[in-house]
Homo-oligomer: 245 residues x 2
Amino acid sequence: MRNIKMTIKYDGSRYKGFQRLKDNDMTIQGKIEDVLSKMTNEHIEIIGSGRTDMGVHARGQVANFKTNSKLSLKKMQDYLYNYLPEDIVITELEEVEERFHSRYNVKSKTYLYKIDNNKYHDPFTRRYTTHIEKKLNIDLMREASEYLVGEHDFTSFASSKSKKKSNVREIHSIVINENNNMIDIYVQGNGFLYNMVRIIAGALIDVGSKRKTPQDIKIMLENKDRSKSSDTAPAKGLCLYKVTY
Amino acid sequence: MRNIKMTIKYDGSRYKGFQRLKDNDMTIQGKIEDVLSKMTNEHIEIIGSGRTDMGVHARGQVANFKTNSKLSLKKMQDYLYNYLPEDIVITELEEVEERFHSRYNVKSKTYLYKIDNNKYHDPFTRRYTTHIEKKLNIDLMREASEYLVGEHDFTSFASSKSKKKSNVREIHSIVINENNNMIDIYVQGNGFLYNMVRIIAGALIDVGSKRKTPQDIKIMLENKDRSKSSDTAPAKGLCLYKVTY
């Protein structure tokens, strides 16, 4: 069987998230599987690098699927482009070795959290940014982010619904760029707990707006207690930017 | 009475255009007038710099209105921000002399036409760009645009529905930028006929895709015949970028 890796860009606004739920639910996975199954006359299931929540976007989500179809990659990509809704686009298709697995083989993931820090939000980016009216202090946010880089127990930064055996993860880097009051927060790590990037974004917003100090973030991390940390920032500002293998 | 000038940014996707139509129609003008009338307890009519069509966007539309309200500009702007839908934002409010008129006093207007020239469209900009799959030749488009700059009779570039006394207008400049297959066409002029920028965009797309030569554009202009020129490019790629007084 062929094993095919796909890179997916999507505007998650209309969807209940990446992962397939019940058959009639709007999910990215569901939409892609339906088109692939129709294309190949097979029952196709795709394996995503991980789920993204309701309303979260992606520029570089990765998934793979197995098929006996003899269609060329180019024909597949054109078929997918023509039959998927316009808010989901497959940007790359690649044939990979049979043992490649989109979830197990992840080396690192990069998420991008976007904040519109202008007094009034921009109508053109409103679906893909979180608007924070109060001017954020970027230097303080950068200082706070340094406490999060490295290997830590991120219990304080995971939804209490998260049921992983271990909450230890490694964040490789957090880069914060600002341009015309648009703030981009890139968080790269070897794995993320449920809601982890959105809680990190919430904590950095708390610091930027001086409700918390950078040192509070260090204490928050040491507390290992979700109930004492920051709110989860809105889904629409979050984007799965890149998955590395 | 106070005369107040406003700069308006809007995502026109949901609207039947700028200009107020019947009372229940979705128009930008209608939405703004409703909020201003509620705010001032007066019957407010705004004067726009000109209409924009159904589905066309604006980054710098200008309008003015007269009022006896004593509210500060800051309070007005906050009120408008809170009560307007999130796809319409007033970016500036300014008190101007009584004789200022948003339409009569226009010195020049700049429109921006955006083309996504990647093989597959970008889901995040799909509402604000026109997707052209075939690679466009920018140099040919620039060469063609030079024939349009200057004072000309633009009959070939106006909707046949346009009923102006004269079709002579002056285009000051056409600037075409390309970055990562995203093409921005800025057209600045002293006035524009109905659909003029969209027909210019259609003609430049014809040249870029080699259906027409740059010299064809010169002939098209000289023909003064709408029926022999290019198709009107889609509304969603167009944005009223700036109005100068």
